[in-house]
């Protein structure tokens, strides 16, 4: 039980990073597509 708790406490952070990475990548790709449609730069 203690191992599970400690393991989760340590590994939850890389998992959260992975989720944020996916959100940012998806949003940026969406922005990129929109920028191309509107024929303007991404930044």
């Amino acid at each position: 039980m203690q191992s599970l708790l400690l393991g989760s406490y340590i590994l939850i952070w890389p998992l959260a990073s992975l989720a944020v990475l996916a959100v940012i990548l998806t949003a940026t790709l969406k922005d990129l597509r929109k920028a191309k449609q509107e024929q303007r730069g991404l930044v």
Binding site: Q2, S3, L4, L6, G7, Y9, I10, L11, W13, P14, A16, S17, L18, A19, V20, L21, V23, I24, L25, T26, A27, T28, L29, K30, D31, K34, A35, G41, L42, V43
Partner: protein, 550 residues
């Protein structure tokens, strides 16, 4: 358990790694390079940054090299709760500035710096106080990040400290100089993607190389009762509370954050701040866990230097390719913050110094761009020169944050309360700084009546911090009630006790003194400011120049 040396790259390998990183980053900026850059784009990308890039840039800027080292140090020193007391508060501060950020953006939708807003609100003296504090903070940040590069290169390769400092300085300047903020945002995105991917791999890799959670649980008895306690008072008072107070000021007083606030599309501010909060917390707390793992496995930092903890753990337990990844992780974090500092400094000199005070709102955009780029070159030179003075990163972080503590209340109050005057702003900052110095450097003996006086000021400062946070999210009435109650509760619990925690006392004193002076002088004034004036006075420079020509 210990290993007295770290893994060493050959000179060629480390040079190739740096060339790959800075060369790749430079090539990336060529994708967006315009022959003739626009002044507003150079400073805030024409206020049109989307959610993905905005969140990535905010996160990458907020994470600097010290974040990893200090989070790991906190985990190693304070045990289970240590990484939280570094990363969680740092992350929450991004969220905390969101409601105030929305107000700043509403008041001055076309601003490039917070100083411009304060200039329209109060005039030059208050603006220059804010701008000077931003310049000081960004120069220190540049110095710290270049120092981190020098330290990393000298620890992991035969190259000298100075070589690492110079390579980072030249590398960051090379890709930021031409396109400014646009280059910073684009490269922040790439750097953050790399940092996240590396953190996602390194943390579990270290854990399972140590034998997994079961092996750590077997060693948990090496922790002291305080280190094993998730709610350790020792960790709260020595790490969490001073850091919380310091980064609150850092978030408000730092142009790198306000620059992104003014650059993100207005309808994307909320998701940007929320994503950056989670992203920062996840990466920094996660890497702080490496410090906790080092503590549990009984690792002693080489030469007693806590900054060696993460490289040491990676060196001891993972194959060389992971050390290469860690190297890129640190170089990426320090470069993304350093390029943001260069952009922040250039925007301050372009808008606050040249635009508002020299050209008097009628600047020449070409000259403005030249001044911005020149500022970047001078700032890089200063950062590289100052980096030769090695200073403790965590203490400096707290010190600069506390220095900005004196500015937080006057800035926020000026944006919500129409009675705050330029005099109130200026004297509040002076009083806050003065009282901070008296407490921080113990220029007065913190005993007897003086000790009680400072503890009361500190309690008032604590109430201000809690009150401002409540005000941001729940409104004026809740902010006032919770702030006053918070100050009273703190005074009850901290009298005769807070004086033992100099850093915390000094930081809170800065908030308390500046708030009291700001409110007192403002109440003496019957003048009421028209907030509509701010959006009329703060505009885009390129548009202004075109309008003036026509």
């Amino acid at each position: 358990m210990n290993d007295s040396t770290l893994f060493q790259f050959s000179t060629l390998t480390v040079l190739l790694l740096l060339l790959a990183f800075y060369g790749g980053t430079y090539l990336l900026t060529l994708l967006i390079k315009d022959k003739k850059e626009n002044t507003d784009a150079f400073m805030v990308s024409n206020h049109r940054i989307g959610f993905g890039l905005g969140a990535a840039s905010m996160t990458a800027t907020w994470i600097w090299a010290a974040s990893f080292y200090a989070a790991a140090t906190s985990g190693y020193t304070y045990g289970v709760s240590g990484p939280l007391h570094y990363g969680l508060w740092g992350a929450l501060m991004i969220l905390f500035i969101y409601p105030f950020g929305r107000r700043f953006r509403k008041l001055a939708p076309n601003a490039h710096t917070l100083g411009e807003l304060i200039h329209a609100r109060h005039g030059a003296s208050s603006q220059l106080i804010l701008a000077s504090s931003n310049v000081l903070g960004s120069i220190i940040s540049l110095m710290v990040n270049f120092t981190a590069s020098g330290a990393l290169v000298s620890v992991l390769s035969p190259l000298s400290f100075q070589a690492g400092v110079i390579i980072a300085g030249v590398g960051v300047l090379s890709y930021t100089l031409w396109s400014g903020f646009r280059a910073s945002v684009l490269t922040d995105f790439a750097q953050l993607m790399a940092m996240m991917a590396i953190a996602i791999v390194i943390i579990p890799a270290v854990l399972f190389s140590l034998g997994g959670p079961a092996a750590l649980v077997d060693n948990m008895d090496v922790l002291t009762p305080e280190q094993a306690n998730l709610f350790s008072m020792d960790a709260i008072l020595n790490q969490g509370a001073p850091f919380f107070v310091a980064v609150l000021a850092y978030a408000i007083g730092n142009q790198t954050i306000s620059q992104r606030l003014f650059a993100v599309r207005e309808d994307h501010i909320k998701p940007t701040f929320i994503t950056a909060t989670i992203g920062y917390g996840a990466i920094v707390i996660g890497l702080g866990m490496i410090g906790l793992m080092a503590l549990i496995t009984g690792i002693e930092p080489i030469d007693g230097d806590m900054n060696n903890l993460i490289p040491q753990m990676v060196s001891m337990y993972l194959p060389p390719v992971f050390i290469g990844l860690f190297f890129i992780l640190v170089i990426g974090s320090l470069s993304s913050t350093a390029d943001s500092d260069l952009c922040a400094l250039s925007a301050i000199v372009m808008a606050d110094v040249y635009g508002k005070n020299i050209a008097k709102n009628n600047p020449d955009p070409t000259k403005m761009l030249f001044i911005g780029r020149l500022t970047m070159i001078v700032a890089t030179l200063l950062g590289v020169i100052f980096a030769s003075f090695s200073m403790d990163i965590l203490i400096m972080l707290v010190f600069v944050g506390a220095l900005w503590g004196a500015i937080v209340f006057p800035v926020i109050a000026s944006c919500f309360w129409d009675r705050v005057t330029n005099t109130a702003f200026t004297w509040a900052v002076v009083a806050g700084l003065l009282m901070f110095c008296l407490a921080r450097f113990e220029l007065l003996p913190m005993t007897g009546v003086i000790g009680v006086f400072f503890e009361l000021l500190g309690s008032a400062g604590g109430g201000v911090v809690i009150g401002l946070m409540s005000f941001g999210f729940f409104g004026r009435r809740a902010g006032l009630i919770i702030g006053v109650l918070g100050a009273l509760v703190l005074a009850y619990f901290t009298l005769g006790f807070l004086r033992d925690y100099t850093v915390l006392l000094a930081s809170l004193t800065a908030y308390g003194a500046s708030t009291i002076v700001c409110i007192a002088i403002s109440l003496l004034s019957s003048h009421k400011f028209d907030f509509q004036k701010i959006s009329r006075d703060v505009g885009n420079y390129d548009h202004n120049a075109k309008a003036a020509q026509s």
